[in-house]
Subunit: 399 residues, 2 copies
């Protein structure tokens, strides 16, 4: 059986071909940028005043403290000019620095009487409170690199350089399949031995958090039906996510049917709890992730293998965080144990507070967890204060 | 002038009235739950088999190792019954436990020959591999509390209990206003002294990340126009966000106009850099946030004051994280300095790597930052290895 690290390695080494599309700027939020964004002019495009106050020429600073005001240079006005170097111009934040000036003195440090600015001190230097043309970037410089995750600040940069449509990575086409004859719809009233579908909705939500709208499909536990459905699905999708039908049950037809249809099984079985029967395979450029049917196994495997793989191939750098246990725990089996935890920030420490649960089928406790820590297979006791790799199941929310 | 802590306190103590709405389950993702969700039946609803294998009665374990197979209990079948206590039934994960059995032995630990299961050992106990009815929750128990942030696992729980429509907090109505005559539209070709609007799009994106669709409006630097626009906006919105026009410039009419219109200014000016002219006021239940016009000030104040306030009143618990400096930095002024940083997870440490920048007007470096650390006003040097409060500007993305 694969260790967690081996399984992850086998998944990650399969490349997901990336397609792109062009979308309006505001729709690009939380997407992956698929082109370099260059400066269409210098940044800033002109010597930009950064404080409200007066503009003078710095050579005058040693000579005098009183500067008659010639006029105002407002933001949005074409560049004005200081006519007499012994005078000053009032200037506003965002304005272009007037010709014949090179230093801005904020209002807080002058006293204006009868249209004459009186400097309260002379401790100013050339270019003070001026954001010089081109200091952030020159025209043609790459401001944003292909592959970054588009966030609010990135949107701001693109707006500045006039990008109203942007090339981004197109999300892969995904269908989430549920199996299991015990499942009924949300709106149904289940019989005593039935339960409502939940994993497909959970996975659909998890994908939506990644900006991906996925289809869902329920397939009954019937080998022929499964095979017919799967043949179609393999043609129509980049990725299939299965919840259930991957274990050793009499009706767990998925592994066999996948093999019949030419899907190469690359991982089936991982020395982990929960999630032991996890399956990963591919047929050409279609990838199949088979998550064990209980909710915690499904969501844990989704994040640990699928999300890690997807983000890696979409260009997102992995950022591994460890969290510190707040109580002793122990597990007997020689497998990696994924322990559900609440994540609490305590100054510089990320604490992992175990969520009590009665087993891997427990959706109620799963929903109470922020993530899980992966306790290594070679140890049996894990002490308060020791740290282990943390994977978030939710969107981490710190201030 | 207010310290950062004082300003935040003054903002936070103003309560945002919360409205609710009912939305389809899948649309509730990333929203705040506005009702308690209760179990419609026990969880699990029946004694649920958690492994594929055979079900026996545990009293037989000391007597015998060979169990003839009577039949199969599949998931989704109505509850069957073991007729002869000396026999067994094959059972599948997710099935209801058959009558007259109380212990499930996984296939891995039996050998089946000629329809007889041979136990490889007898080290099993009552209820093993059975998820007992009601152990996670009883019918009527509150499974999800009002106020939680709806994520994938939460969606799963709601699906399980048949919640196809859910009551959530209704996002407040927000208009983002830009001011500044130097600003032109994204699609315009700016003159040498003009720049394109970027802050409104940046703020719109930041709100979208919080699940809020906001309107935008540009108002020219004209007192009359501003007053007329503002009077309408105050009536139509819960919250107004302004970028610019809050400082000491000749055309920074916002503070004056707000006062004319009866908006009580509660904060104006904070001992921080960037973001010194930050303004916060209210008129009845309409709240006005005036962010200084440069991009970094705007985005920093958005997260530090607005987002903290909004999430607090929507019911989200604040989770303060500190990050550790990777290089020495120093600042001379007696103000809180918000230093833009890249956030890197290095095992249990969250590292803050300063992003070099030429000033608070620098959008390019802002886009390269993941967040900022707030360096306290009473110190001037901040050494490598020391930790300070971190605020994310982006969606933090760890594994």
């Amino acid at each position: 059986m694969n260790s967690v690290a081996e399984a992850l390695q086998k998944v990650l080494e399969n490349e997901l071909p990336v397609r792109t599309e062009t979308v309006p700027l505001m729709n690009s939020l939380n997407r992956i940028l698929a082109e370099d964004i260059k400066a269409d002019r210098d940044a800033p495009p002109f010597h930009r005043v950064t404080m409200d106050g007066i503009a003078i020429h710095s050579t005058q600073l040693l000579k005098k403290a009183l500067f008659p005001i010639e006029g105002i240079q407002a933001a949005g006005d074409a560049q004005g000019r200081l006519l007499d170097p012994e005078n000053c111009l009032e200037v506003m934040t965002g304005a272009i620095l007037p010709e014949n000036t090179n230093c801005v003195i904020p209002y807080e440090q002058v006293k204006i009487i009868d249209n004459v600015a009186n400097l309260l001190h002379s401790d100013f230097t050339e270019n003070q409170n001026v954001h010089l043309k081109g200091t952030d970037a020159g025209k043609g410089d790459v401001l944003l690199k292909k592959g970054i995750f588009i966030q609010a600040g990135t949107i701001g940069v693109m707006a500045t350089v006039g990008v109203s449509n942007v090339k981004v990575v197109k999300p892969p086409t995904i269908t989430i399949c549920s199996t299991g004859n015990e499942l009924v719809d949300i709106t149904d009233n289940p019989l005593p031995h039935q339960i409502r579908k939940s994993n497909v909705y959970m996975l659909q939500a998890a994908l939506k958090s990644l900006g991906i709208e996925a289809q869902t499909l329920h397939i009954d536990d019937d080998k022929k039906l499964l095979k017919a459905a799967l043949e179609k699905l393999l043609h129509k999708n980049d990725i299939l996510l299965f919840s259930g039908a991957v274990s050793k049950g009499k009706y767990d037809f998925l592994p066999e049917v996948l093999e019949d249809l030419g899907v190469k099984k690359l991982v089936h079985g991982v020395a982990q709890k929960p999630g032991k029967p996890f399956l990963f395979g591919r047929r050409k450029n279609t990838f199949v992730f088979g998550f064990p049917g209980n909710p915690a196994s499904t969501l844990i495997c989704f994040h640990l293998y699928f999300k890690a793989w997807l983000l890696t191939h979409l260009g997102k750098q992995r950022n591994s965080l460890f969290a510190t246990l707040t109580e002793d725990v122990s597990f007997k089996r020689p497998v990696t144990y994924h322990l559900l935890v609440k994540v609490v920030a305590e100054k510089e420490k990320i604490l992992a507070v175990p969520v009590s649960n009665s087993g891997s089928g427990d959706l109620v406790h799963l929903a109470a967890a922020d993530g899980f820590i992966s306790l290594p297979a070679h140890l049996e006791t894990f002490q308060t204060g020791t740290s282990y790799p943390l994977t978030f199941l939710t969107q981490p929310w710190f201030n």
